[in-house]
Amino acid sequence: MESAEIRATIRRLITDITRVPAERIADETSFRAELNIDSLSLIEIGVAVDYEFRLDSPEEAFATVDTLAQTAELVEVQLAARRGAVAAR
């Protein structure tokens, strides 16, 4: 999946959960400071992203992400690791 597509998917999930319009979610917009997303919704976003991409990542993985860019990077790293793991079998 292309980087832009990953970002778009994550942005859609955030909008679904928080109703923050997609236009307000730039790469570096802070979830906590600028978008005022509460802790429960942040956990939900982490779960939704993990479920969407079937990452099965460790629970702490999403605990500190605060921007779209960080989330996308985390997803890309996990996807690459999975591909690497598959290739290695």
């Binding site: 959960i17 109703r19 429960l40 956990i43 939900e44 779960v47 479920y51 629970e59």
Partner: protein, 436 residues
Amino acid sequence: MTHRVGITGVGVLSALGDEPAAVSRALCAGEHARCPLHPPAGADPAANGGFAGLAELGDAEIAPLRGFDAARYLGAETNLRPLDGAGRRLAAAAALALEASGWTAEACAAEAVGLVAGTMFAGMRTIAEFDRRALEAGPQYVMPLDFANTVFNAAAGQTAIRHRLTGPNATLGGGPVAALQALGYAADLVRAGQARAVLAGGVDELSAEALRAFSRAGLLSGAGEGPGVPVPFDGRRDGCALGEGAVLFMVESIADAERRGAPVLAEIVASASAWAPVGEPGRSGPAEAPDEVAAALARAIAQVLGRRDGAALALDAWSSSASGDVGRDRTEARGFTGALGEGARAVAVTAVKGALGEMLGAAGGLQALVLIEGMRSGRLPGIAGLATPDSDLGITLSAEGRAVDLRLGLATAVGFDGAVEALLLRRWEGEHFATR
């Protein structure tokens, strides 16, 4: 001086609409909101509120809220994701009730308004979906916002958050009795000085889980050959049709209402709860011993009427929880006649569930609503769909609405598994000044 308590506003979501006077008019005109669970070929598939599958339920009817959009009541900008179906319905009813009773957002911020919400299943759909997600995908994939809604008091909590209701916040489980019990409890809280104003009523959401559960328990009409008769007190009744909705009444002391110039729609005179064991839990039909439950209801009615000899106390109308259930409708009639004796036949009878289905946690609220509207309009609905009244019951039944000078109205409910509730409402005629 005894603290007299009354109702100053109501918010309702029902299959016949969200405007109390319009709902009452529709009921008086004999309209009903039932539709087939499985729309016939060629019909709009969304007409049944969007239920798919459930093939084993055959000819069941339902009375869903059609086109319910919580955003219309809670604001287009509000993030509704945290709320589930039950929460949206209750919060929407609260918005309507607050507006109707003149309780602005500023007023709620300044005063700790309470909330007592009755229910049967609460967020059962959320609970089931949450649990099934854990089973299918693994416990790490359950959705946190859904977890918050898996507690039975979630709808009440969500409603309090949306409307800044900082007073007592109680949820009452009990299904068909719960909204009446909630009204009684709200009156108690106001009298006890725990809150000056309390929203009281109930909510239940129609769900595939509820439909399956009721079907498996043999409670739904239409399970046998031919069309079902989910009609209260009908001689051919064979069960209920499930409905849904939410109702909330603003309950406050009459002195307070008059002080702020708010009209009092009705006085909550008295309430009573009781219980007796049903033979086999969950069974309806010609049960061997529903008499104990009838006796319990007779006691509760006698308690609210304040009389021990059971003589009618100028009761003008009775709003029953009868739903088409063979055994429970009969139990409720027996309880009523047990309390009123010969006077029972003189009382005008109505039962809203023929038109609106079994609304469970919201049902008692609709029962009270038709009494309150009747006090204002002078009309009481008949029983929609009543074609062959059950003649064994000792009560006067009518399919048509009629004129009634409604000063004193009784609402009763018989729950599943033996709980009963009675609530007495009186038309408020400003006696407050007369008693000083």
